[in-house]
């Protein structure tokens, strides 16, 4: 027994000196980037990680509001042209100067990465980049394009010198991973860690740490254990079940903030015969969900406060529209529907469904926080107004395809779906366009409109907003469209906004971000 203790003590002594004298920050993250190449895959973990090494023309602050990054200012100089003025004091990690040539090169490379599963082409389509001088770029479009800055805040700028002829593998090995960000690429051990080192010439806020180690730890409990044991200094995605206990733990400081993700229900409102709706007893029934009174009744039957308190353990905010307060395009006049069983029952009777009906609710079980539990809770709540519910959840790998195109003729397969939508652009046009605009493949509208809500008034407002460059005016139009599509038509039924929790070691905290990103700059002394 003595020998064992000696061996273990020896091991411990050998570990301690391996902690470098320089300041190192270790972060444990739930999602690992699939590549270091910033244009390979338009997905959360990749975009989040790339902000450490690369910069964009326009940045997003913790509330996804646009802020200057590589561009000092931008404005529309005519209806179809935006002018971006660039910083002249930026150096790439190899010391060469950043100029407009790099921007032009990025615009041609980003949409054309071979084998890209989700390309950045959607942000660059229809835009022509023109170099005016070394530090000025014009971006031209066919029609007025108000969301220019938001689109460009997603595309990372790469160096023409190193990016020309570089493949995705060159980025993964570090050869081409030359950026202008606060940290330089040092090492990438797949599945284990990504090591970054300080860029002393960074043009923005000076990086605090000499070395940053990003460790992907997929399992929630293991991530929490890593924080508790001091193996990492910061983690993201703290599981809701652990939050109560961790709040009391002196070794850990939790930080929570709302995200841009709304959890909602899409409802089949375009088919008279909906595949998962039946009369009580199993007979056929005309789809009750087509009646707006039934949809309103369902919304009134959802006890959002209980959902937040019991199912989400307090880590959610009741929702009445598409985005929480503070985002662009949010309506001041909309509040989450109250919990009102009496009115709900009355509406059901008025619509002719006083006896209720049978419904199957579908949802994913591994995509959103507590998604399966949300579906189950909904089933219980709706039974109070006579809707007998069956719940079916499945892994996201099967759910989304079936939800979009699993039915006959590639129509949505389900009648009521639990879904989430994170507005990547930080404003309301994103969910309006994809979830509530009339489904139209050619126009590229309503791509995720699985309930097939369709209202020409809403469509017209969305089109108008997408062409209105004046920001406050656009905000008003988006708010109006939301009031009609959600408030009046119940095109979707919002349930709550997700709240994300980060955990930092004692004495530190994390500045929560609505885009759910974990960035080094957000880690700060309390």
């Amino acid at each position: 027994m003595n020998i064992l203790k000696k061996i273990v003590a020896l091991l411990v002594i050998c570990i301690v000196p391996s902690i470098a004298h320089s300041k190192t920050l270790k972060i444990g993250v739930a999602g690992e980037p699939s590549s270091i190449d910033p244009h390979y895959h338009n997905v959360g973990p990749n975009n989040m990680f790339a902000t450490n090494i690369f910069s964009m023309l326009v940045g997003q602050d913790e509330n996804q509001q646009t802020i200057p990054d590589l561009a000092t200012s931008w404005k529309p100089i005519n209806d179809t042209t935006w002018e971006f003025k660039l910083r002249n004091d930026v150096k790439w990690h190899d010391g060469s100067k950043f100029t407009a040539d790099d921007v032009i090169f990025t615009a041609t490379r980003a949409p054309n990465v071979p084998k890209s599963p989700a390309s950045f082409g959607i942000y660059l389509k229809g835009k022509t980049f023109v170099k005016i001088d070394d530090y000025t770029v014009h971006v031209k479009t066919e029609k007025p394009y108000p969301l220019m800055a938001n689109d460009l805040s997603v595309v990372k700028i790469i160096s023409k010198k190193h990016g020309e002829n570089a493949t995705t593998e060159d980025y993964n090995s570090g050869k081409a991973a030359i950026g202008t960000g606060p940290y330089k690429f040092k090492q990438y051990v797949k599945g284990d860690k990504i090591v970054l080192e300080k860029n002393s010439d960074y043009f923005g806020k000076k990086p605090e740490y000499d070395t940053v180690e990003i460790k992907p730890i997929k399992s929630g409990p293991a991530r929490v254990a890593a924080l508790l044991s001091g193996d990492v200094d910061l983690i993201d995605g703290v599981p809701p079940v652990d939050v109560k206990k961790l709040k009391k733990n002196k070794k850990v400081q939790l930080s929570s903030g709302p995200s841009n993700r709304v959890i909602y229900l899409h409802i089949d409102q375009f088919r008279e015969k909906s595949p998962h709706v039946r009369a009580i007893g199993g007979g056929d029934i005309k789809n009750p969900l087509m009646d707006v009174r039934v949809r309103k009744a369902i919304s009134l039957a959802i006890n959002r406060d209980a959902m937040v308190a019991k199912v989400m353990e307090g880590l959610a905010i009741p929702a009445g529209q598409l985005l929480p307060k503070g985002f662009h395009g949010v309506s001041e006049n909309m509040k989450p529907d109250p919990y009102d069983i009496k009115t709900a029952k009355q509406l059901m009777k008025e619509a002719g469904y006083g006896k209720g009906f049978e419904l199957t609710i579908h949802g994913p079980n591994d995509r959103y926080i507590n998604d399966a539990k949300i579906a189950e809770a909904l089933g219980q709540m709706l039974s109070k107004i006579g809707i007998k519910c069956k719940i079916e959840t499945m892994p996201k790998a099967v759910y989304f395809k079936r939800a979009s195109a699993g039915g006959p003729d590639k129509t949505p397969e389900f009648s009521m779906m639990v879904l989430g939508w994170g507005a990547g652009s930080g404003e309301a046009s994103s969910p309006l366009k994809s979830l509530l605009a009339t489904h139209n493949k050619e126009k590229g509208m309503g791509g995720a409109n699985r309930g097939r809500h369709s209202d020409p008034k809403v469509d017209a407002l969305i089109d108008k907003a997408l062409a209105t460059v004046d920001s406050p005016a656009r905000g008003k139009i988006l708010a109006e469209a939301t009031e009609i599509a959600v408030g009046k038509n119940y095109g979707i039924i919002p349930i709550h906004y997700q709240v994300n929790t980060w955990g930092a070691k004692a004495g530190y905290s994390y500045l929560p971000r609505t885009d759910e990103y974990t960035v080094v700059a957000g880690f700060q002394k309390k």
């Binding site: 599963p117 082409g121 997929k218 409990p221 890593a226």
Partner: protein, 325 residues
């Protein structure tokens, strides 16, 4: 002997072929990788581009034929998620899994063999009974739970060992492994222990049963009568004879250690192939799934062949039978 090996190799190829067909078709019937990969904000034109580029619009058998042609030239396709060739991706992660499996095997043998022999020699003692009851715990407790408990105890409460990840690599005889550094050993100890528990229990019980059986044999009595020392009787005559079933089990179980280290690797964030496969299943990264399963089958088959060859050294009866044919 050579004929035997050739026969077995041919059989293995048939097995591999059938397996690849089953896996490929099976994986193509579940879910849709496109929806896993692309941003939901994408336009239909973008979705069409992805479908064409990855060949999803062709019938399954045509995709399979395409796949076979590429495999013949060593190309197992490119990962949907990472865009790099699947085979190098998997092989790159294998060393981490192999070293975990090897160390785990080492731990389980070092503990199970002596304890099993002891329990078999002195079955009536209280300590033997405790050992046997303990072994039941070993294979009934779920790996996931045990792993988390180990982390909570050794990393969080006692802070003796790190909770996650792989340590630094060292080189020895040209092989790079984290087993050759102290930092690496401190990282590998808990996951290897976690992975070893199941194996430990089965080897222990097998050893005990084998010991109980062999100790009653005539040749043991004869060796004692001859006046051989106790340790020689145990270490040579007893051990050699009980090792045959144990080698079989170890051979098969080593394969499963490598193939199914998924749970341990996920809990300890160990960057091995097991974690890669579970992530690929979740992301519907078909090329990686198919390539991985084929490699594992090839590995199992090869392992079985080694075990059979080892037999002929341990058991003279197999040797004699083989040569007389």
């Amino acid at each position: 002997m050579t004929v035997y090996i050739l026969q077995r190799t041919l059989q293995s190829f048939v097995v591999l072929f059938v397996m690849s067909l089953i896996v490929f078709c099976g994986v193509n019937l579940i879910g849709d990788p496109i929806y896993m990969m692309i941003s939901p904000e994408s336009e239909p034109a973008e979705i069409e581009r992805v479908i064409k580029e990855f060949g999803f619009d062709r019938p399954v058998l045509e995709q399979y034929w395409f796949f076979l042609k590429n495999v013949a030239s060593g190309d197992f396709g490119r990962s949907f998620v990472q865009g790099i060739p699947a085979l190098p991706l998997i092989l790159e992660r294998f060393p981490a899994t192999i070293e975990l499996a090897v160390f785990s095997l080492f731990i389980s043998l070092v503990i199970a063999l002596p304890l099993g022999v002891y329990a078999g020699l002195y079955p009536e003692r209280k300590s033997s009974k405790i050992i046997m009851s303990g072994s039941i715990l070993g294979f009934s407790m779920p790996t996931f739970w045990v792993g988390i408990m180990l982390i909570m105890l050794f990393a969080v409460k006692l802070d003796w060992l790190p909770s996650t990840g792989r340590g630094e690599l060292g080189t020895f005889l040209g092989i790079e492994s984290s087993l050759f550094t102290l930092n690496g050993l401190s990282h590998i100890f808990l996951p290897a222990l976690n992975l070893a528990l199941f194996k430990l229990s089965s080897v222990l019980r097998l050893t005990r049963a084998g010991t109980r059986e062999v100790i009653l044999q005539d040749y043991i009595k004869f060796a004692r009568a001859k006046g051989l020392s106790h340790s020689r009787v145990i270490n040579v005559h007893l051990l050699k004879n009980i090792l045959i079933p144990i080698v079989t089990v170890i051979g098969l179980e080593f394969g499963s250690l490598v193939a199914f280290s998924t749970v341990t690797e996920t809990v300890f964030a160990w960057p091995g192939a097991g974690k890669l496969i579970i992530d690929s299943v979740y992301n519907l990264d078909r090329p990686v799934i198919v390539a991985y399963l084929i490699i594992i089958v090839a590995f199992f088959v090869f392992l079985n062949l080694i075990v059979d060859i080892l037999y002929s050294f341990l058991d003279p009866r197999v040797r004699i039978k083989g040569s007389s044919e």
